[in-house]
């Protein structure tokens, strides 16, 4: 049980023109479940592997607990890792797979047996202990992989997209199992995924990465409701947040030929990117004219895709409501997210602003 501190960490592969990871600063508290999320190639796995010791750290420092572990062997970092494709030893039984790490650390036999039995109970692996991995299904193998990590009782768990190879239904149930397990063991966990839904449901805190840099760190709901950049805004949440071109006009926002009330004084002038979540748009008598393009029925809700003055938009509707080809939409003014068009950064709007310059979040 320990904290993980990542300070100013960067990585450049030898011979590469640019760094893959730049200036990462992150402090993970003891017992926290941190999820690194981002699109393919954003560096999240690389970062995880640097913490594990499977990749070299070009610059910066990683501490596990109080120890700087930059040069420490993976086997000595007191971490356990769960891999995407399970990485079970094919020639060993489930029992031997779980015991292997402990055997190499000269744990007494009785202790090993006790820990394996306990992990098997926790993960319902009892009937499979003497089978080889090839005789198990994907979900069972993944549980064995977790069992292998659990018996080590490490300072931290590292998960590298463990659910990506499972089918959708299994993913949902395994997600719950991982969460329950972590809460029970209270072990610090660092989890990597490209699935924003997994990230939202599992994390105590979320780290959104893009092109090797941190875009935002925070609790899931915090990130959901106040995304710091257009990237985070469109990555987190499904369907993705609508991002429209708009213009500040005093207390109003101009979208194409139409105007909506922003409900407050906004600092600055000119073009901005306006973000509105699909669930925050409601049909109303007056408001933005919306032309329906196509509808996706989800059963519990309806996703309506359409256009406002040529700009694409999605909103969620209660399926009971009647659907028309043309509607008018309104949105609560405190559900408006404003972003700088060039940097993508969030624009904050304090009630009063002294200067005329928009203050970025």
């Amino acid at each position: 049980m320990a904290s993980i501190t990542i300070s100013d960490v960067s990585k450049t592969y030898p011979g590469a023109a640019a760094p893959s990871i730049t200036d990462i600063n992150l402090t993970i508290q003891d017992g926290e479940f941190i999820v690194l999320v981002g699109p393919s190639g954003c560096g999240k796995s690389t970062l995880l592997r640097m913490v594990a010791g499977l990749e070299e750290i070009t610059a910066g420092e990683v501490k596990i607990g109080d120890r700087v572990v930059n040069k420490v062997d993976p086997a000595d970092r007191d971490i356990a890792m769960v891999f995407q494709n399970y990485a079970l030893y094919p020639h060993m039984t489930v029992r031997e797979n779980m015991a292997y790490g402990l055997k190499n650390r000269k744990t007494p036999k009785a202790e090993i047996e006790a820990r394996v039995a306990e992990a098997a109970r926790m993960l319902e692996l009892g009937p499979y202990l003497d089978r080889k991995p090839r005789a198990l299904s994907g979900g069972q193998r993944q549980r064995v992989a977790m069992g292998r990590a659990v018996v080590r009782q490490p300072a931290a768990f590292l998960f590298d997209e463990p659910l990506s190879n499972l089918d959708a239904k299994l993913r949902v149930s395994m997600r719950g199992e991982i969460r329950r397990l972590q809460k029970r063991l209270a072990t610090t966990s660092l989890y990597v995924t490209h699935d924003q839904l997994e990230a939202m449901t599992l994390a105590d805190r979320l780290v959104v990465l893009n092109a090797g840099r941190i875009e935002q760190v925070g609790a899931p709901l915090e990130i959901y409701h106040r995304p710091a950049t257009t990237f985070v805004a469109s990555f987190i949440g499904s369907p993705a947040m609508n991002l429209l071109d708009a213009e500040i006009d005093g207390r109003s926002l101009r979208i194409g030929a139409h105007v909506i009330d922003a409900g407050r004084n906004m600092a600055g002038q000119g073009a901005i990117t306006l973000g509105i979540r699909a669930e925050d748009l409601h049909p109303s008598a007056t408001g933005l004219p919306f032309k329906v393009d196509f509808v996706e029925e989800l059963g519990a809700q309806r996703l309506v895709h359409g256009l406002i003055d040529g700009q694409a938009l999605v909103l969620t509707l209660d399926p009971q409501l009647p659907l028309q080809d043309e509607m008018r939409l309104s949105v609560n003014s405190d559900k408006l997210h404003l972003f700088d068009t060039i940097s993508g950064k969030r624009l904050e709007h304090p009630k009063t602003v002294a200067s005329g310059i928009p203050v970025p979040a």
């Binding site: 010791g53 094919p90 292997y100």
Partner: protein, 318 residues
């Protein structure tokens, strides 16, 4: 009451059933034509019948006859050729040498191949250079290897002779039994190392990276990691190579021996396959040579069947 399938006859019966069972259909969907497949098979089958089955049958049948030395026919002698061969001290002597030769060549070429493959797998820089250099020797024919070996051990010009002389060892390859055997073994090992190297390196590189990384986290000691987590995964390849190497030592080393011995068996070490050749082509003892052939056939049969059976057991890890 003992389980009947575990008794010897039960085991044999079960084993025969498995050996003669139809191999599972190669494809889920196949063409259903009565005649066409035979057209495709015909050339290969024709060649096999004329040049494999027919000669093999002849070999077996002529092993039961002795040819009249003046060429006037042959007499049926039953198993005499076999008992003569197996009973003769000379044959047993040669069989003994063959066994030792096979064990040494197999052990050293596998061992060296394994060592080099493991090291080549571990280094990253210059890996392809090493690989190219080590593989290039694969293509050298046994007779060429034998010739070069002869030169290296030549009385007048061979550096090995001079080197050995430094240690007080007077190498007389071609004259001294032990020295010739040493040279044969060295050359045979030299020629076979690249083959083993290729297969073992491929096997190592086929191990998923994530399994290796898991082992890195689970086991700090490199040697221990290799023996407990990596080597077991090479088991199927290793077993296959064992059989191939034994076959190589028994048969493909013919050329090396021929080059060094030059048809003069006299005081020189030879293997069983070479004796088949000597007796048949130089000694004109067709019957005896055939009998020896058949004995060798049986040895190979046993080896191959062992390989198939074992390979069945060692199912490939999914």
């Amino acid at each position: 009451m003992t389980d009947v399938t575990q008794t010897a006859p039960g085991l044999i019966r079960r084993w025969i059933a498995r050996a003669t069972a139809r191999p599972e259909p190669a494809k889920r969907v196949q063409f259903d034509r009565p005649l066409l497949p035979w057209l495709f098979l015909a050339p290969q089958l024709a060649v096999i019948f004329v040049f494999f089955y027919w000669p093999s049958a002849q070999a077996i049948s002529s092993s039961f006859y002795i040819e009249d030395p003046f060429g006037f026919g042959s007499t049926f002698v039953g198993f005499d050729n076999y008992t003569d061969a197996l009973g003769s001290a000379e044959y047993r002597h040669i069989a003994g040498f063959t066994a030792i030769f096979t064990v040494l060549v197999t052990a050293f070429s596998l061992g060296l191949g394994l060592l080099l493959a493991v090291k080549a797998d571990q280094v990253i820089r210059a890996r392809s250079t090493y690989r190219t250099a080590l593989i290039s020797v694969y293509a050298i024919a046994p007779p060429v290897a034998g010739l070069i070996g002869m030169m290296l051990f030549d009385q007048h010009i061979g550096p090995f002779v001079k080197l050995a002389a430094c240690f007080g060892w007077e190498l007389k390859v071609g004259l001294n039994y032990f020295d010739t055997a040493f040279a044969m073994i060295l050359v045979s090992v030299w020629k076979q190392v690249p083959y083993n190297f290729i297969f073992i390196l491929s096997g190592l590189q086929g191990i998923p990276q994530s399994v290796r990384e898991a082992a890195l986290i689970d086991c700090k000691n490199g040697a221990r990691r290799f023996f407990t987590a990596i080597l077991p995964l090479l088991a199927p390849t290793a077993f296959f190579l064992l059989i191939i190497n034994i076959t190589y030592a028994l048969f493909d080393t013919f050329a090396v021996i021929d080059v060094m011995v030059k048809d003069k068996a006299a005081n020189n070490p030879i293997t069983l396959v070479y004796k088949v050749y000597l007796d048949g082509f130089r000694g004109n003892d067709i019957g005896g040579s055939s009998a020896q052939s058949v004995i060798l056939m049986l040895v190979v049969l046993v080896l191959t069947l062992v390989q198939f059976r074992w390979l069945e057991r060692r199912v490939h890890y999914g």
